[in-house]
């Protein structure tokens, strides 16, 4: 009896306590917590992997990760930025540039009022110093390329610098490896002379804290996040009269794809970097959180990165030295199926190695008949003809063979990237179905670099073809980049496939001359056509598909993101151009300020 009574008393006391508590809670007006307020002012970008060395802030140190740290966009700024969506070459730290008559010099006029974050003025001395440093330290990233193209930089006065080139090049201002402007991804970064002149070894220098001219300061860096805070004293606020909206920006690793998808659904992330979200996962996120929107409202959802994918043929040795075999293989690849299975519909097929940008359309239209007559579409009957013409016949098991030896090309890929594994899984099946006994070898880490540059493959892919402009992608196939098998080629798509055809080279050279003479588009298109007639006949690589960048934005906290409907900027949080997404920029065409992202509801 006594026990049941005490239980009753305790229960009653608990009930009273609960009522009092709930009354108190109700008395406090509901409102956002401090954490909510902070989140609403913060921009969170999810990156693909943790940061190996969170003490290194030297963008020139070999191995420094420009894509994931955000340092190139938050802390550093560049003289010009190329807005690929609008075609504008946006002046930033500089106001203008001009070439001399024979394209051997570029004079750059710097903007007045640009300051480093430690209060020093940004001047031509910093540019002169940076190029001297690159010349004295060839181990720095891009130093070799830069030294080959730029002989010297002279200071005319504090706000004028003159670049002396080693050979005439009317496209110099677009080459990221040699000029402080950003087209695709990054460019030569100008460093503050007053800090770097005392550095003994720029290769091992940590650059802690990193000093730049950008609107943000690095606040902290750990293995899992690089965090930036907005500067109140950024020069742009005075000169342009703008302040970027986010008070804080975090580049953070929250885990693999599933974790990123969950964080995005729960509004913990505002945008993931490229290559993390698959279309299937994106669709699930979209269902859970309607504020998540991608570049397009409907499929394919992705923005097209300027680097289309292609499969490389190793032409330095049999069997791929035979153009008929290359065309046979190319005709067996069903690109629609690759898009459907490997990319889950998030991209479109490509019959050339240039991005689907409207500015390039006249060029593509001009070679439509060349492409139609080529071997870059799925056609098993044509493949049979090519292989037969090349002297192959099907053996008892249905595989193509010549002189008793099967056509068994070695297909290499980068096993570290899910995209490559998915695409090659489909290609291997397609080639086997077509009677090619392909051998498959995924490689990873530094091994894949060495093997590809030395040309140890018969087939390699999917390979990105950057930077995607007409001339620059034409030049990738130039014979001047040819090195014999075994020696390292300049880069994967820079002729690791050992292509050399003087007729093609002549067309590329003619294109450069025409660009220097400011030839009209009809002339350029004519030269392009000549080059492509040779190219499609030789088929040094076979195009596969456009490069999808499925980087959705979260509209819960931030608004004004670019999209296919409002394509004011590329959606690139892994490029140095990302700062323009936050600050906006002055339109070259209208002279008006195109605003960056803003807090939602404003």
């Amino acid at each position: 009896m006594s026990r049941s009574r005490s239980t009753l008393v305790i229960s009653l006391l608990l009930l009273v306590a609960m009522l009092i508590t709930s009354a108190c809670t109700a008395a406090v007006p509901a409102g956002p917590s401090a954490a909510d307020m902070e989140r609403a002012q913060t921009l969170n970008i999810a990156v693909s992997r943790p940061f190996a060395d969170p003490t290194l802030f030297n963008i020139y140190a070999p191995g420094f990760d420009r894509s994931r740290t955000g340092l190139g966009a938050m802390v550093h700024e560049y003289l010009f930025y190329l807005n690929m969506e609008t075609g504008e070459f946006v002046p930033w730290l500089a106001e203008s540039y001009e070439y001399n008559d024979d394209y051997t010099e570029i004079t750059v006029n710097l903007r007045d009022g640009v300051m480093w974050s430690d209060g020093e003025a940004f001047t031509a001395d910093d540019i002169v110093f940076t190029y001297e440093m690159l010349r004295n330290n060839p181990a720095l990233t891009w130093a070799n390329e830069s030294n080959k193209a730029v002989a010297n930089v002279e200071k005319i006065d504090d706000l004028t610098a003159k670049f002396i080139l080693t050979e005439p090049n009317p496209r110099q201002h677009l080459v990221r490896e040699t000029f402080p402007a950003v087209g695709v991804w990054s460019g030569i970064t100008i460093v503050p002379e007053h800090i770097w002149r005392d550095v003994e070894d720029p290769v091992t220098f940590k650059f802690d804290p990193p000093i730049g001219t950008g609107p943000y300061l690095l606040e902290s860096a750990t293995e899992s996040a690089f965090s930036y805070t907005r500067r109140d004293d950024w020069w742009g606020t005075e000169v342009f009269g703008v302040t970027p909206a986010p008070a804080k920006v975090n580049f953070m690793h929250v885990g693999p794809e599933t974790s990123v998808a969950l964080s995005l659904s729960a509004n913990e992330i505002d945008s993931p970097a490229i290559g993390i979200l698959s279309p299937g996962a994106f669709m699930s996120v979209k269902e859970r959180n309607p504020n998540i929107k991608a570049w397009t409202e409907e499929a394919p959802y992705a923005w097209y990165d300027p680097c289309p994918r292609a499969l490389l043929f190793q032409m330095g040795k049999p069997p791929m030295d035979d153009p008929l075999v290359r065309k046979g293989i190319s005709s067996l690849i069903d690109r629609d199926q690759i898009v459907a299975l490997a990319y889950e519909g998030a991209t479109v097929v490509s019959d050339n190695v240039w991005p689907e940008y409207s500015g390039l359309q006249p060029y593509k239209d001009a070679i439509a008949d060349v492409i139609a007559a080529s071997a870059v579409t799925y056609n098993p009957e044509a493949a049979e003809q090519y292989f037969t013409e090349a002297g192959y016949a099907k053996d008892a098991d249905g595989f193509w063979a010549k002189d008793g030896e099967r056509l068994a090309p070695l297909l290499m890929t980068n096993g570290d990237t899910p995209e490559a594994m998915k695409v090659t899984a489909v290609i291997v099946d397609q080639l086997e179905t077509g009677g090619v006994a392909v051998e498959f070898q995924p490689l990873g880490g530094a091994v894949v670099d060495a093997a590809i540059l030395a040309g140890e493959y018969d087939l390699y892919g999917p390979q990105a073809f950057c930077p995607g402009t007409i001339y620059e992608n034409m030049e990738l196939f130039h014979g001047k980049f040819f090195v014999p098998l075994g020696e390292p080629a300049p880069w994967y798509e820079r002729n690791s496939f050992r292509y050399a055809n003087p007729e093609y080279d002549a067309a590329v050279d003619a294109m450069l001359v025409a660009l220097g003479e400011n030839a009209d588009e009809a002339t350029l298109i004519d030269i392009y056509r000549q080059a492509m007639e040779v190219w499609y006949n030789d088929l040094p690589v076979t195009p596969l598909n456009q490069a999808p960048a499925l980087v959705p934005f979260n509209y819960t906290y931030w608004d004004g993101w670019p999209s296919a409907e409002n394509p004011w900027m590329m959606p690139v949080n892994w490029w140095a151009t990302m700062n323009l997404l936050l600050t906006g920029y002055e339109s070259v065409e209208t002279g008006e300020w195109v605003p960056g992202i803003r807090a939602a509801g404003q």
């Binding site: 693999p256 794809e257 599933t258 998808a261 969950l262 698959s278 299937g280 996962a281 669709m283 699930s284 199926q337 459907a340 299975l341 490997a342 889950e344 096993g415 570290d416 899910p418 594994m421 998915k422 899984a425 489909v426 291997v428 099946d429 086997e432 179905t433 498959f440 070898q441 995924p442 490689l443 990873g444 880490g445 091994v447």
Partner: protein, 294 residues
């Protein structure tokens, strides 16, 4: 007079191993599940048109029952057809790796324990070194270097790290056995070292080696799955680990394609359970103290 009953007992116990095994319920149930899974996979695998294994053979992401038994993947492959290839391949990895590990381990253990001296010193150090290094680390390293290896090569790599533990235990057993009377008698009767190992010592270790083999089998299937899930598996052949790798690669869990990842996971669990029962059965027969009624 006193010798005869002892001999009878030995004969009976030797005859009894198989008899005991087939009487052991755990062993028979485990073995039956294992064989049933393997046979169903092998037989149905032989009846399937190889072209149906290729990507794009089926509509993508179908749930189970809608045209296919266990549903389809994002790559347009049937999960059931993948299982018919994955089960035999995973079993093959287990068999080869366990055989290599057990035979190599037994050989090294016998030689080290029986011959002693310098041979023993060298082999003992070798065993200790291999036991002290984390084998998974080495497996990841080797698999990463030899990307794209086949099922057999994968099994050999795993087997190459499976011998130190049996080697040490066999060595310890042999150290004790070789001092027994029957070994002394064999030596006096003119048998050489290898003959004594093979004829006199080996039969005493059969049951223990059998249990070790099953254990190594489980460990090898597990190692293969782990490496495959990390993306270091036999990329052109399907194993249970590679099925999980592809499911993760297409974020099947987040996308609610449960049939894709659940099928290999349940199969792996069934495989482990059946082999574990076989292992317990072996243990009980070789070590009567563990035996339980029924």
């Amino acid at each position: 007079m006193a010798v005869a009953p002892v001999q009878d007992a030995i004969v009976e116990s030797r005859k009894g191993v198989l008899w005991e095994l087939q009487r052991n319920r755990k062993f028979t149930i485990g073995g039956a599940i294992f064989l049933a899974m393997l046979l169903i996979a092998l037989i149905s695998g032989m009846m399937i048109d190889p072209d149906l294994r290729k990507s794009g053979s089926f509509p993508q992401r179908l749930p189970p029952g809608e045209g296919t038994l266990f549903g389809t993947t994002s790559l347009g492959q049937s999960v059931a057809i993948q299982l018919t290839e994955a089960i035999p391949n995973s079993v093959q990895v287990g068999l080869i790796a366990a055989a290599v590990g057990t035979i190599l381990g037994a050989l090294i253990g016998f030689v080290s324990g029986y011959f002693g001296g310098k041979v023993d010193n060298v082999l003992r150090i070798l065993i200790d070194v291999f036991l002290s290094v984390p084998s998974l680390l080495f497996l990841i390293l080797i698999a990463a270097l030899l990307r794209g290896v086949g099922v057999t090569a994968m099994a050999l790599i795993i087997g190459a790290f499976a011998w130190p533990s049996p080697a040490r235990q066999v060595r310890a057993q042999v150290l004790s056995l070789k001092e027994r009377g029957f070994v002394q008698v064999a030596r006096l009767s003119g048998m050489n070292g290898m003959e004594i190992i093979l004829i006199e010592l080996m039969p005493h270790m059969f049951q223990w080696l059998g249990a070790n083999f099953v254990n190594a089998f489980i460990a090898a299937v597990l190692a293969e799955s782990g490496l495959s899930i990390l993306g270091l598996g036999p990329s052109r052949e399907m194993t249970l680990g590679m099925m999980i790798y592809w499911a993760l690669n297409y974020s099947a869990i987040f996308q609610n394609l449960w049939w894709w990842w659940l099928a290999p996971v349940i199969t792996l669990m069934a495989l482990f359970l059946s082999l574990y029962l076989v292992h317990i059965g072996f243990d009980e027969v070789s070590n009567p103290r563990l035996r339980t009624e029924g």
